[in-house]
Amino acid sequence: MTAMLLIEQALNGLQYGVMLFLMAAGLTLVFGVMGLINLAHGSLFMVGAFACAAVAGATGSFWLGLAASLAAAAAAGAIVEMTVIRRLYARDHLDQVLATFALILVFSEGTRWAFGSFPLYLDIPAALAGPVTLPGGLEYPLYRLVLIGVGLGVAAGLFWLIGRTRLGIRIRAGEADREMIAALGVDISRLYTIVFALGAALAGLAGALVGALQSVQVGMGEPVLILAFVVIVIGGIGSIKGALVGAILVGMTDTLGRFVLPLALGTVMSRSDAGAIGAALASMLIYILMAVVLVLRPGGLYGRA
């Protein structure tokens, strides 16, 4: 019984991890290529979720909503890049933090203005509703299983894009030496806009997919943003591979910690104490993981530093 629950929680952790990867991949790309720390990445996650919920609500089709989320987040990303972010590349991190913090205020309050303070609800598409029986007799929600597949698929696509395509070569070259590739005739500012919009689209996709599991509301992006920061610090900033490994590590640690710690503490203390203390400790676990990684490898698992 406990073994079944453990497997289910491990799958939940994996699902959580791949969704974090979608967020972390954009952040780490933007930082790696443009050297920009973007606090407003969580707002793009929110934009994706709201676009999906609004379009799905109006048309009744989750798939149209999903397409809308990608389009809206990519468009929001491109517009923000061209109007604000572009002016920040040459600035220090402090200005970047403050400007993107201001962007969060604009996005959050603008969304509250447009959609009100009440959460929207997004239903899981009918084709993906309900559980499936996995080998071993475990019943697991099909939608979450699909999310794991989508996340891993996007990861594979991203590795292919970065490693095997012309755009990927340019992105990697931009990371290594931006003056040189500009001198070689690559339109660097267009490249930056594309990279930013790509990261935004990934965040929007994550927002729409996760939006069906929880309520869609203003401020939903920031907790995910901070976890994505933890992920890329663990993985090493600028590394897509690090983001994937870090995301799965964080997703698993968080989900399994919340499940295992109260049980483990329950063997040495009363059940209610174990529940409370276990929950408090579990909420700190990923930060402890991050601290340990930093002490051992200050540049992250796959960092260059």
Binding site: L94, L103, I104, W113, F229, M290
Partner: protein, 327 residues
């Protein structure tokens, strides 16, 4: 030429004159607003030591602000519940005395800054920003899920803590305390910046390599600055909790970190009175825009964006000109 000291004097006097006038006109709300400015400026003054003078971009100072607030509540709650702070191994009563609470808040803030700083300062730049942010979030989630001190609901302290010889429930007297602490901290900061420690810290910000070549380790300087900074922000947290007579995990949230940083940057990074100007402007904007629209944060965001993109150096930088160049 030397416009900054003059501007500092004007700011210090204005922050004193406004509540005094409000007191004469019997407008307690304005006094409370001024008290809020003084306390938030104190939090910003703490961050300014790490951020402005040390060059350490910490996005986790809400941790220290919240620790100060919780130190106040943890010490004062047993008194209002007729309980003991701890009963084992020896009995310790709670306290309602502000100086003791301040001492406890600053010690707790310094200790937390020592641990967080020692780990975070292994890294630099963008890693440092993210790690301080993450440690702040860690304490936030801990405060939410730890049930002993109110969890998500926080704790109310019904009667403001006391200070010998003053009636702290009188707004103008509580303002005087906050203002006095702010001025004391700013005076100490001014002395610190000119002392050997402050000069070495400026050196570590401008050129760590050269400093290391002179035989001074930047790490210990940075850690000391971070600890001092954390202790001052914790003191502000204790005062802020006393102002509201309430603490909740929102004091630890990362928005609070962002706002404390906004005070410093709005006013001017590394300027002595920058946090005062920044906090005053922020509270005025909040008050004024909040009256205009429910969505005032949207306009605040646009104003902030405009300031970052077009008016570098903050208020003090705009009004007093660029800092004098050294050497």
């Amino acid at each position: 030429m030397r416009r900054e000291p003059l501007l500092n004097g004007v700011l210090a006097l204005a922050l004193l004159a406004v509540p005094l006038a409000a007191w004469a006109l019997d407008e307690p709300f304005v006094i409370t607003l001024a008290t809020k400015v003084a306390i938030l400026a104190l939090a910003g003054a703490g961050l300014n030591i790490a951020l402005g003078y040390g060059g350490l971009v910490s996005l986790g100072h809400a941790a220290f602000f919240g620790i100060g607030g919780y130190a106040m509540a943890v010490l004062a709650a047993p008194v209002q519940n007729f309980d003991l702070l701890m009963s084992w191994p020896f009995e310790v009563p709670g306290t309602k005395s502000m100086p003791l609470i301040w001492l406890a808040a600053m010690s707790a803030g310094a200790l937390a800054a020592l641990v967080i700083g020692a780990l975070s300062l292994r890294t630099a730049g963008v890693y440092f920003i993210m790690i301080t942010l993450a440690f702040g979030q860690m304490l936030y989630y801990f405060a939410i899920s730890w049930p002993a001190y109110g969890g998500e609901d926080g704790i109310s302290i019904y009667v403001r803590n006391g200070f010998a010889g003053l009636n702290t429930l009188d707004p103008i007297q509580f303002f005087a305390l906050a203002y006095g602490l702010l001025m004391a901290v700013l005076a100490l900061t001014h002395m610190m910046v000119r002392a050997r420690f402050g000069l070495a810290l400026a050196g570590a910000r401008q050129n760590p390599g050269r400093l290391a070549a002179l035989g001074i380790r930047p790490f210990s300087l940075h850690l000391s600055a971070f600890v001092i900074s954390g202790a001052i922000t914790a003191l502000a947290g204790a005062l802020y909790a006393d102002l509201n007579r309430f603490v909740s995990p929102s004091m630890l949230s990362w928005q609070t970190s962002g706002e404390i940083m906004v005070f410093v940057i709005l006013g001017g990074v590394g300027r002595l009175f920058g946090p005062v100007a920044g906090a005053a402007l922020f509270i005025l904007l909040e008050h004024w825009l909040g009256g205009v629209s429910d969505y005032w944060k949207l306009f605040l965001g646009l104003i902030l964006l405009g300031i970052v993109l077009f008016a570098r150096g903050g208020l003090i930088g705009t009004l007093a000109g660029r800092e004098d160049a050294h050497d």
